[in-house]
Symmetry: C2
Subunit: 689 residues, 2 copies
């Protein structure tokens, strides 16, 4: 309905004018930088190809989805997921193209587990015969599967799972049974309403040889189980399964609970590539190489590390564009009648956003490196060489913990830096934030898994201390041995470093701090025999220090070996490197100081140095975020639009797209009527549920 | 529908057993402590009185509300708010009792602004005649009002508001007009769908004397304006008003946008207690004492500070009870077959939750103190004595910034400490978290308002430096003068302190650090004439240091003067004091060190000292959170239930209360059908909006 507001414009200078100015003032080429960042694996080209197809489908419109109820939103998510799969068939998308489409639509797919853990587990843990039977059904989506490991009472400690798979040697079947409520499967994605099959992880109980009524547990094993009828789609008898209900995010995912009541499955249900039960004797065959189970967990963690850069880049894109446009207060020392300042020109806004801009780049290089180390290690393992596995497992654990923390906290920091409008739905961060808040917990809790890094480093330090003069087996060993030799000779580790001007010295400083913390942990655990649990806080700090060292070192090495970039691009990347590293150092200043990894005078200079770096990066901020090439469709943000039409879009969402404005309410408290002219009352709303 | 899961129990030891053990092992009396904390102003008694009335009403059941859409949830919120008002009439509740009922129901009321800023502004800024007319209408809720100040383009900088109120000397009316889109009112609560009146803040434009066609602005002024028809409840002609759409939280609040097209309001609309326009001459009368406008802003900030303790206590209650019950992994150094450990026994869980438990108590004392300082200052001001106003304004700004940050971040820290189940709707933190995330921004952005603290302290330091030997005007002046005298005599400030054993020395350390930062800011701004904006980060740190000093000092003084408590209660409160202060110090270690506020050796000892304090507090954790007496109805949390039936309740919510489980879906991607046996498709869901 047209009204007088249709012709109004925002106050000048408006967003488009401001962003045009921002883009013109920087010599950073968005084209060059975006290709450098995103085209090596075809990401950019893929995005350009898939985006118009997605935007063409009305079902993928995000305009009003925030207004839906959980059941409606889930239905929409399922409808979209079906359409995505049909588009895959129609356009003959490969896996990467399909994933790109999912990334742009930005709904967690109810089929997610089918495509990831379900298929991966069959591929890796099923026997050849099992694979031959199941893979065609899975790939054609004739069956939909999930992965049911976590239980109501047990997550990280997989050995504590309570669900039982008891071998019945009479009928040659396994009997799945949930002895307690806490044995209920819980959190298992795609299983709550959708999947008709699942990998079910249960304690394998076999009769003791010679004592057929006594059973012994051989630990958790995976079974493939049909859980719903293929026609009615109702749970099979003996199974209770459903969706666990609303969560912070993942609104389109049906995380499940599932219990079994003496539910019988055939011998062939047990995935038997590595371990098996002889159907005639009931005798168990153990897997030869237990380390193999590392594989999929580490893969998922590496994926999460690689993904973090785009999450943070998305939040930073919105925050930089909006705070460049948003104006507030005149300069206190300037003319009273002057224009208001862009809020991004306030150092108190810069200190929240620009280090995160730098962090997105740090995450980028480490994400790439993590992926290639994963691929190398996988090749080694397939050749039967397991030496690099422990390193990769440690690295992926520490980085998963640190990088998801940086990205999750970074999204919220960006949101708050945007002030009032950051709290609104037009910011574009609500769903991202709600979904991403799962990441600090899933695939290994961020505090729990840092123990794996510390245990690895203590082992490495023990080896180095036992043989400081031997030949180093790898880079960590070499650093640790040198540290031990320096201690022995009372030679100071802190060779004069100049962190304020020498980029390589910054890496050395991070290296020394991580090494000192590793040595302290080694001393306390190995020499002083302190209990593991009493050291946990310290071990967490060690993991963080080591992972920060990796981020800084990887960033430094990538820039040092880069040869193809223009000077302007390279020089701004070096500034981002410095900002990331020195901002990180400032925040943990005392720890660096205590480890002799920074001098007192350098530490005192850090705040000024960080502020100077921010003022150098500031003019390029908009071009730097543009280089991540995150499309408006994905951002779904008034504040972060590429064209800068912030206020027009906020107004449009409020005035034209908000269903609440279709309803006229009755504010009189003495009348039951809620909606003017209708019988709608409070009781009638509740009764709908 | 009954099924085999009805009879299942969780694995042993279950939650009730564990909590009974936790409660028995501590000598802290919940009864004593809760009365000490919450009965002085009748809070506890009020809660006990109101709770059963609320729980008796089906409309206030929270069981399924997370599943509603925004429009449905808003309708429910309005229905509840009406019922609350009717219960107020029925039970003749006073204001505090009504607020208690609202607190327990835990919906932001769509009438909130009517009861707060609308009525307050009329009370404080309307002339006597205006009050006589409006107050009866307001108090009887015959009209519902809102407060429309913030605009799409302007928040904190009130002087930058664009909406115009132009005096028409012909018709003796004001003409309200929005010249741009950014002039649209925005965020104004209770106005989007509900209010029929509003205080509208607009630039007062009056003709220049002798030049009737030229107008001059006299700055923003408040007007009372009818915006909707009292019968049809539709906007009046010349006004466009509506709800801005979904947000992070505040789902039951109709935050508004509103624009005016040459909308005429009578001369009597301008609230004229302090300033007025002569209807005959068009001549403006200025307010005598502009400081008076501080009043309501400071009141709201003081309220927010006081409220923060209960927000954090709620999250900590849930986190402590759940992590005491949740078990994970055996002790790495213990028996392999031993029981799993309660996760609250891991120092890495303690370090996240127990300092926040201590923080809730710190917030309590400062909240009480803030409230009584506000009341004293108000009495002073009403007597015409404005001297304490600047101090109170500075204190309320700094504390609002720090305390809302502690509570908002604390809620999320508690959530993450609860691992996987913390991400679920049964945690009970989703709505609290979403609503509270507004607090770091509203009523003065947390980074912006710290300038007000710094400006105040620089002024105080300047005065002290100019007259270090004069008589001190207040406590801050006395501390600052002493600091200047010590500097002059090169006497060291850091008299030997022993933070690890002397509680008073801890306060001294926080005092010195804040004073050194104030002195540095004074030097840079007053002597070195550095620009204000270049100092902003440093000024923010100063405000934080000063506010932390207030929290620590107030905690210390409250315990030092407390005489009625038992030894066991007092001794645990002292441990909480130490934990709060030393944990805070450890996190900002280098700043304390740089300010000579802590010795290097004390700083090195802090981590061990903090860990020791946590192990002393740990056995009392459950009784300490019990003492906040937050009812299960308010917690609305499976994880935080007083009876410890965590798993039973999680399962009940999932299996019996989740409407998604009423729907059977069709997972076949080649079929459009979403819901099995119905015509529901993706397009039909979108078309509902």
């Amino acid at each position: 309905m047209p009204d007088f507001t249709d012709k109004l414009s925002p106050a000048q200078p408006d967003g488009p004018t401001t962003l045009a100015h921002e883009r013109a003032q920087s010599n950073v080429s968005v084209k060059e930088l975006s290709e450098y960042l995103l085209s090596s694996d075809g990401f950019l080209q893929r995005q350009a190809r898939i985006l118009p197809i997605i935007q063409h489908e009305p079902l993928f419109s995000k305009e009003k989805q925030q207004n839906l109820s959980r059941p409606e939103r889930f239905k929409l998510g399922l409808a979209r997921a079906k359409l995505l799969r049909r588009l895959k068939d129609k356009h003959e998308w490969n896996y990467d193209e399909y994933k790109m489409a999912e990334y742009l639509v930005d709904d967690v797919s109810p089929y997610f587990l089918h495509l990831e853990m379900f298929i991966t587990t069959i591929r890796e843990q099923a026997s050849e015969e099992q694979r031959a039977y199941w893979m065609p059904l899975i790939e054609s989506w004739k069956i939909i599967g999930a992965y049911a490991q976590t239980e109501l009472g047990h997550g990280s400690n997989v050995r504590g799972l309570e669900l039982e798979a008891r071998w019945d040697s009479q009928s040659k079947e396994f009997i799945l049974h949930s002895p307690t409520l806490t044995a209920s499967k819980w959190w298992n994605g795609s299983l709550g309403r959708i999947a008709n099959h699942a990998i079910v992880v249960a304690q394998l109980l076999l009769p003791k040889p010679g004592l057929p009524n006594q059973y012994v547990s051989h630990g958790p094993h995976p079974f493939i189980v049909q859980v719903r009828d293929m026609k009615t789609h109702l749970p099979l008898e003996g199974i209770v399964v459903g969706d666990i209900g609303p969560k912070y995010g993942y609104i389109t995912m049906d995380n499940a609970y599932m219990l079994f009541d003496h539910f019988r499955i055939p011998h062939s249900a047990m995935l038997s590539r590595y371990s098996s039960v002889d159907p005639h004797t009931g005798i168990y065959t153990k897997p030869e190489q237990p380390a193999l189970v590392y594989g999929s967990l580490t893969y998922v963690r590496a994926q999460i590390v690689h993904h973090a850069r785009l999450v943070l880049a998305r939040a930073v894109t919105i925050a930089v564009r909006y705070t460049a446009i948003r104006r507030q207060f005149q300069d206190r020392d300037g003319d009273k009648g002057g224009p208001e300042m862009a809020v991004l020109d306030y150092p108190t806004v810069q200190i929240r956003i620009l280090p995160l801009l730098a962090t997105a780049f740090a995450l980028h290089y480490t994400g790439l490196s993590m992926r290639s180390i994963y691929q190398d290690t996988r090749k080694d393992v397939e050749r039967g060489d397991f030496r690099s596995l422990a390193h990769m497992h440690s690295m992926s654990s520490g980085l998963k913990s640190l990088c998801t923390m940086l990205a999750a906290d970074g999204v919220e920091t960006c949101r708050r830096a945007m002030g009032g409008h950051g709290f609104g739905g037009g910011g574009g961060l609500i769903q991202l934030n709600n979904d991403y808040l799962s990441k600090p917990t899933v695939e290994g809790d961020n505090w729990m898994i840092t123990q794996q890094v510390a245990a690895y480093l203590i082992k490495k330090m023990t080896a180095a201390a036992n043989s400081p003069d031997g030949i180093a087996s790898d880079e960590t060993d070499s650093i640790f041995k040198q540290f031990i030799r320096n201690r022995r000779s009372t030679k100071s580790d802190e060779a004069k470093r100049d962190m304020l001007t020498c980029d390589r010295d910054i890496v050395k400083s991070f290296e020394l701090r991580a090494t000192v913390l590793a040595y302290e942990a080694y001393e306390q655990r190995v020499h002083k025999k302190q209990s593991w649990n009493s050291l946990l806080i310290q071990l967490h700090k060690l993991s963080k220090a080591q992972s920060q060292h990796i981020l800084v070192k990887t960033f430094f090495e990538a820039l040092s070996t880069e040869k193809s970039l223009s000077d302007s691009a390279k020089s701004i990347l070096w500034e981002l490197y410095r900002l990331f590293a020195l901002f990180t150092m400032e925040n943990e200043g005392f720890e660096f100081f205590r480890c002799n990894a920074v001098t007192r005078s350098d530490l005192d200079s850090l705040p000024a140095r960080v502020q100077e770096l921010m003022s150098r990066i500031r003019p390029h901020a908009v071009n730097l975020v543009d280089s991540w090439m995150i499309p408006d469709y994905l951002l779904d943000s008034s504040l972060g639009r590429h064209d800068g039409r912030v206020y027009e879009d906020l107004y449009n969402r409020a005035h034209r797209l908000n269903p609440l404005n279709q309803i006229t309410f009755n504010p009189n408290y003495w009348e039951d009527e809620i909606v003017k002219g209708s019988k709608d009352s409070g009781a009638s709303i509740l009764s709908k549920l």
